[in-house]
């Protein structure tokens, strides 16, 4: 890759990572030596990019530096199309429609010749039809976004039905099924609930008392320890 292309790619990479990235990683990703990477970084800084480097941490691109006005690349469009096709297949119909709408909005701002890419993209998705959800996934996503407590009637794998309040904070997509990740008031611990086993689900008025981002982090840490 020529230097002039590489510098743009480097900016984009820095923007993609939001956390500090070490020079070694950036060098590998752009396919140059560390020495050259340092030169590239200082070139960009000389041209006005707000890149900060801290020893022991890595580089961060400070927000506010506008990239040169580049359009989506062909790869990027293909990634968006492929992603939205997967959503159309694997998610609920409301999210599928939202994906198609988003793609249409993107197509609107694309120049004519790139618009054709979206329509005739030759990346296809074939999946086994997912297990049908009993619960309304749209309502679950809404509860997660607004941090609402859900009163859940749930039938576990052995068929035993129980009722409990949960604090939903994530929705996880597996190949066949979807799973609500939540804090369970009954068990006082994190629990997973397959959406196809939810019998009934009533959003409560109350907001749950903790932030969903915090719950997500705590749950993740717990997962890491377990493995």
């Amino acid at each position: 890759m020529a230097r002039s292309e590489r510098l743009l790619a480097l900016l984009q990479t820095l923007r993609r990572y939001r956390r500090p990235v070490s020079g070694a990683v950036l060098a590998t990703e752009t396919g140059v030596s560390i020495r050259t990477l340092y030169r590239d970084i200082s070139s960009l800084q000389a041209q006005g990019a707000l890149i900060e480097g801290e020893p022991g941490l890595g580089y961060v691109l400070k927000p506010g530096f506008m990239l040169p006005p580049m359009m989506f690349s062909q790869d990027e469009i293909e990634a968006l199309v492929l992603g939205s096709r997967w959503v159309a297949r694997a998610a609920d119909s409301r999210l599928a429609a939202a994906g198609a709408d988003a793609l249409a909005k993107i197509a609107d701002v694309l120049p004519q010749e790139m618009r054709a890419e979206i329509e005739t993209s030759t990346l296809l998705v074939h999946l086994k039809p997912p297990v049908a959800d009993k619960a309304d996934l749209g309502a679950i996503r809404k509860a997660i976004r607004s941090e609402r407590i859900l009163k859940l009637t749930y039938s576990d794998e052995s068929g035993t039905v129980s009722v409990r309040n949960i604090w939903p904070f994530a929705l996880s997509y597996f190949e066949q099924v979807r799973v609500v990740v939540a804090w369970c008031e009954l068990r006082q611990d994190y629990r997973h609930f397959r959406t196809d086993r939810i019998v009934e689900m009533i959003p409560q008025d109350g907001r749950y008392p903790r932030r969903r981002a915090v719950l997500l982090k705590e749950w993740r840490d717990q997962q890491d320890v377990a493995h």
Copy 2:
């Protein structure tokens, strides 16, 4: 001025003029010869800039080259994020990076308060790790886009190795594997090739003689009849 800086400057200059500018003017302004200016323009075009040159007129940076501010509903953003997370999991690393890049570009043109949505989305994707590809998926996508013949060394399910020329026109994503859909010169029919069974793959110079959209349609019709 170094080339890498000059290219950025050239973009800015083109944006400043709204009317067509002759190459001679641009060359003078950036301080290089005409010949180099032509090279610079084609470099920018290769990197995705939509610059049009008309004999007798000059160069114009096509409108629509920059991403305008866009609005998305919450559902649409979640669909985009979920889709790109799936791409990150299930596609090759290059497409995965492209998905993340596209998302970062979208985030940049989003109003401040929506930007956070992309970062804190609580939709997760869990998949069995896909089978590793032997072939370079990027090269396959490129061959499809440019309608290039591929010389394929392929090992079928029984382990028999064969060499043939194919006209690839689609890439299909299954749960564990990816499959190239192509017209096979050897069999004179449509054939599927799992990317993990491709032993070697050499792009040929020749373009195949039919349009990929036509092949796709014909293949689809054939599939429909079979079922």
